[in-house]
């Protein structure tokens, strides 16, 4: 209902930082009439230190004493894109990581951190599984030992798996089955990807969730939770030498693996538009669409980000102006580049106003996309988009958690910490011609995948 979402979360995924210490950045102002040059400031992540232990564990440390807070994160390089026989196992397994180990009962890890006021949680995506503990700094030694404990001696019992399976099934019902937007995205990804494992919903299909067993979980743990498949990212208030000593002591003995299995990643070329309809009890029909786009790190990435901003950022964006303001056809509309490590998508999403035909929303939406490909964008639009992306990058540096996320994500995506300067210069070099070119290259009408979520026919009569 409010302004279309900014691109902060996604930008952080492609974020950047540097091992070059003391690098001063100068944000170049856009040429938009009222903006002035942004001041220079130091990229906080530039002081990140990378240490690789003998077992292959990568440890990123970013010591910063501004607030007495530490974020300790473990980036496991496995996601639902690595699933083979059992869909949903990466995410179900993430839950099992909280269900006890040799010396701790189920949920003790979460309780021990919670009772010290910390935040503990995890998430699974198509590419990674990330565990984090955000605590005030006096509790960091406990965090290191708790994380080492479960990585060393996770203990999955039949009883515990049975109970957690039901939890995950409720999560699937909540987010995918009984939620119209969740249904839209699940169908969209299954439509856009025919062969690529990204077609699998990260939460998994119900019939697999009902059957995954203890043996499958143990196998998954052995295959992917090896020291050389993990990146530990720590940012905040600690002493680097003390922390590294603790990590060496508790995580140095973790096993490594000489083979980490990966799925084939080939998606056949899409030849023609694909469509699907999902019936659901909705007053406001939903349009979800996607085009194939390049993976993280592609040279068109920055231009696709600028294109996303021109389409979707703020009330002056093209989609807001046409669909929400002028035509009053939608409650909200956004189109954005979603980059993943092995393939990307450019998605379109709109919620129609109740009573408005979803076909009308679709033709307005695609009309705006096609107009960029054929007529291009203005220099003023590109300048505004660049400024927005720069501000988002700066605002994403404000907490220990955000910093640890940035360095962890950079390392698993690029194998290094990308300097903020590098990311900014990519954005700054985008021209209006680049934006038109990437729209024409990637967002072709015959390459669309389109999903409508609408009332079933009998209910709408």
């Amino acid at each position: 209902m409010k302004r279309p979402p900014r691109l902060r979360e996604r930008l952080l995924r492609t974020g950047s930082s540097g091992v070059l210490s003391g690098l001063m950045l100068l944000l170049v102002a856009s040429s938009a009439a009222r903006s002035e040059p942004a001041p220079s400031f130091e990229d906080p992540a530039a002081r990140t230190r990378t240490t690789v232990l003998e077992n292959g564990l990568t440890v990123l440390t970013l010591e910063d004493h501004t607030t007495p807070v530490v974020s300790f994160q473990i980036w496991v390089q496995v996601g639902s894109g690595d699933e083979a026989r059992w869909t949903g196992i990466a995410h179900l397994f993430e839950h099992m990581m909280f269900r006890g180990s040799e010396r701790l009962p189920p949920e003790a890890h979460g309780r021990l951190i919670g009772e010290r006021g910390g935040r503990v949680n995890a998430f699974t995506s198509r590419d990674v599984t990330v565990y984090f503990d955000d605590v005030t700094s006096e509790h960091l030694p406990l965090v290191v030992e708790l994380e080492a404990e479960r990585l060393r001696s996770l203990d999955i019992s039949e009883e515990s798996l049975e109970s957690e399976r039901q939890v995950v099934i409720e999560e699937r019902r909540l987010r995918s089955e009984d939620d119209p937007q969740g249904r839209a995205f699940e169908n969209l990804l299954a439509l856009a990807f025919q062969a690529h494992p990204y077609r699998i919903p990260t939460v998994g299909w119900m019939s697999d969730l009902e059957k995954i067993g203890v043996e499958e979980c143990n196998e998954f743990f052995r295959d992917y939770y090896a020291a050389n498949n993990l990146v530990v990212a720590v940012a905040g208030d600690f002493d680097t030498e003390e922390l590294l000593a603790l990590i060496r002591k508790h995580m140095g003995p973790l096993r490594s693996s000489d083979h980490i299995a990966r799925n084939p990643q080939l998606e056949p070329e899409q030849r023609g538009e694909r469509r699907a309809v999902v019936h659901f009890d909705v007053r406001a029909p939903i349009l979800a669409a996607a085009w194939h786009a390049p993976p993280t790190g592609h040279e068109d990435g920055a231009a696709l980000d600028v294109l996303s901003s021109v389409l979707s950022s703020g009330r002056t964006s093209r989609l807001y102006r046409t669909l929400v303001y002028d035509e009053q056809a939608a409650l909200g509309a956004s189109g954005a580049y979603w980059e993943l490590m092995r393939a990307g998508l450019f998605y379109a999403f709109a919620i129609a106003r109740p009573g408005v035909d979803i076909g009308r929303v679709e033709s307005l939406f695609f009309g705006e996309v096609d107009r960029i490909a054929t007529e291009g964008v203005t220099q003023a639009e590109v300048d505004k988009a660049k400024r927005t992306l720069e501000v988002d990058l700066i605002e994403g540096l404000g907490t220990a958690h955000a910093l640890a996320s940035r360095i962890g994500r950079d390392m698993v995506s690029f194998g290094r910490i990308r300097p903020l300067e590098e990311r900014l210069s990519e954005i700054r070099s985008v021209t209006p011609e680049d934006v038109q070119r990437v729209a024409a290259t990637w967002l072709k009408p015959e390459k669309r995948n389109v999903v409508h979520v609408t009332q079933p026919p009998e209910a709408s009569q």
């Binding site: 209902m1 302004r3 938009a32 903006s35 002035e36 040059p37 942004a38 001041p39 400031f41 807070v69 006890g100 040799e102 010396r103 009962p105 949920e107 003790a108 979460g110 919670g114 009772e115 010290r116 006021g117 935040r119 955000d134 005030t136 006096e138 030694p141 406990l142 030992e145 404990e149 001696s153 203990d155 999955i156 039949e158 939890v167 409720e170 999560e171 019902r173 009984d178 939620d179 743990f221 052995r222 096993r255 007053r283 406001a284 009330r315 002056t316 964006s317 009053q328 409650l331 919620i351 106003r353 109740p354 505004k384 400024r387 720069e390 501000v391 700066i394 540096l397 404000g398 907490t399």
Partner: protein
């Protein structure tokens, strides 16, 4: 698994019992546990390092010539800032027949101010990569901008225009009203909204709290720009507002700007606060099913009246609620309903602390067939808070959680400034943040035990469930008569 297992002594005992090899699913070939060393979780926690919440040298409290208060929190780490004005009135204070007026007024204030039309105002903000937001809560009304510090002058001007000179143009008002109505319709597509709204109505029908903060389709249909203009004028007065800034700003320069922009703002008559909510609701058990035959999961809310924000028992209530349902995996409800029984993905309890007593509610969801059992567990845990209140160990964990998460939640200067402003809205002492951890730690098990019977009323709750009525009715009838309503 007992929730007490996580206490230090008990963890050691459990580890001795469970830690042997050969359990189903244990993994072989792993490194052995570090021998003969006490793990960190069995040692007493290190003494807390209570860093000061607010660095006194960075916090500046000032007042303009017309009495408008100004709080500035300097934080030069990043070249950005937050700036806003909060007024001490909100949705609670609008007439119930105009429910949604505060929210509508807020949207309309974003649509044109001073010399700028809606799109011109949006353009000046978007060109700077900045943001502008106006929103109301139950008890406050907030207009704020954020952006790069080099743009402070422009954005200060935008804020002053939005607060002092909103245009309330008729054609924008019609767009906002249409969006507002469409948004309310769309919100009914989310079962979580249906359950919250039905609970509000069950508890507070006839009072403003009985409708969502955004209002209802009926009330919003009658909103006009004239109503918004009057509401704005009686909410935003210098004696009823506080100006705040956090981030990369110079306090003296900011005060000069504030004096120039807001110094001539004259006092108008301030809107009176709305009528208090009922002190006891419901009088007896009420069971309401919102029929959605297509859902596989039921959404559940169980509640009754709660406490006001300024209630003297608030600290003890927070601890009680942490133990019951707001303490994540350390809470009794999460331990029982999710961790032990796998009946839900999430469950929590909350007290809607407002100027008057807002709702106490337990919220969760489960597969339809287990709904009756989950409701029974919720009522059982509410009763157990009265019959078996937390002992020193359980309370100690709740205290650790509250004090620690308090510090973590104030990591950014923007969060600290918002908390300071909230104290002002409710007329609470300025040093409340500094004394908070001490007050939490000073609370004793008897303090919590003694308030539990006054705070929790499992014998007279409203039970609201969204899902297929045919399958739900037989599971709930044993608790009382079931009313079935349409979404």
């Amino acid at each position: 698994m007992s929730r007490k297992l996580a206490s230090f002594g008990m963890v050691a005992a459990a580890a001795l019992g469970l830690g042997c090899a050969g359990l189903p699913g244990s993994l072989s070939g792993e490194a052995p546990a570090p021998a003969a060393e006490i793990p960190a979780w069995e040692k007493p926690p290190p003494p807390p390092r209570d860093a000061p919440v607010v660095d006194a040298t960075k916090l500046h409290r000032m007042e303009l010539s017309n009495g408008l208060k100004l709080i500035v929190l300097e934080d030069r780490r990043l070249p950005r800032f937050d700036l806003g004005i909060t007024a001490r009135r909100g949705a609670s204070d609008e007439p119930v027949e105009h429910a949604g007026l505060a929210s509508y007024t807020a949207h309309l204030m974003e649509r044109g101010a001073g010399e700028r039309t809606a799109l011109e105002l949006a353009a000046v903000v978007d060109d700077l990569g900045a943001s502008l937001s106006v929103a109301s809560t139950w008890d406050s009304f907030n207009a704020a901008v954020s952006g790069l510090s080099v743009d402070v002058e422009t954005l200060f001007g935008v804020l002053a225009d939005v607060v002092l000179r909103p245009r309330f143009d008729a054609d924008e008002a019609e767009r906002v009203r249409a969006e507002h109505l469409a948004g309310l319709e769309r919100a009914k597509d989310e079962p979580e909204n249906l359950v919250r709204w039905a609970l509000y109505r069950a508890l507070y029908d006839g009072h403003r709290y009985g409708l969502p903060i955004e209002g209802s389709s009926e009330s919003v249909a009658g909103l006009t720009p004239e109503l918004a203009r009057d509401f704005h004028a009686s909410v935003f007065t210098p004696s009823n507002a506080i100006l705040f800034a956090a981030g990369d700003v110079d306090p003296a320069a900011l005060k000069r700007r504030a004096e120039a922009a807001f110094g001539a703002w004259s006092a108008g008559e301030t809107l009176p606060v709305g009528p208090p909510a009922p002190a006891r609701t419901p009088e007896a058990v009420r069971i309401i099913v919102v029929d959605r035959p297509d859902l596989g999961q039921s959404q559940i809310a169980v509640g009754h009246e709660g406490i006001a924000r300024a209630d003297e028992r608030r600290i003890a209530v927070q601890l009680l609620n942490t133990v019951l349902g707001s303490g994540g995996f350390s809470s009794r409800l999460m331990g029982r309903v999710r961790a032990d029984e796998g009946l839900t993905y999430g469950i929590g309890s909350s007290f809607g602390e407002r100027r008057s007593a807002g709702p106490f509610a337990v919220r969760t969801f489960t597969r339809v067939a287990e709904t009756g059992r989950v409701v029974a567990l919720i009522l059982e845990e509410m009763r157990r808070m009265i019959d078996d209140p937390p002992d020193e160990i359980e309370l100690g964990k709740a205290q650790g959680l509250r004090t620690g998460s308090f510090g973590l939640g104030l990591e950014t200067s923007g969060a600290v400034a918002s908390s300071l402003v909230a104290l002002d809205v409710y007329g609470l002492p300025e040093d409340s943040l500094d004394t908070y951890r001490g007050r939490i730690r000073a609370t004793k098990p008897t303090d919590v035990a003694s308030i539990a019977p006054d705070l929790l009323h499992p014998e007279r709750v409203a039970i609201v469930v969204v899902g297929p009525a045919d399958a739900l009715r037989p599971q709930l009838e044993g608790l009382g008569p079931v009313e079935v309503v349409q979404p």
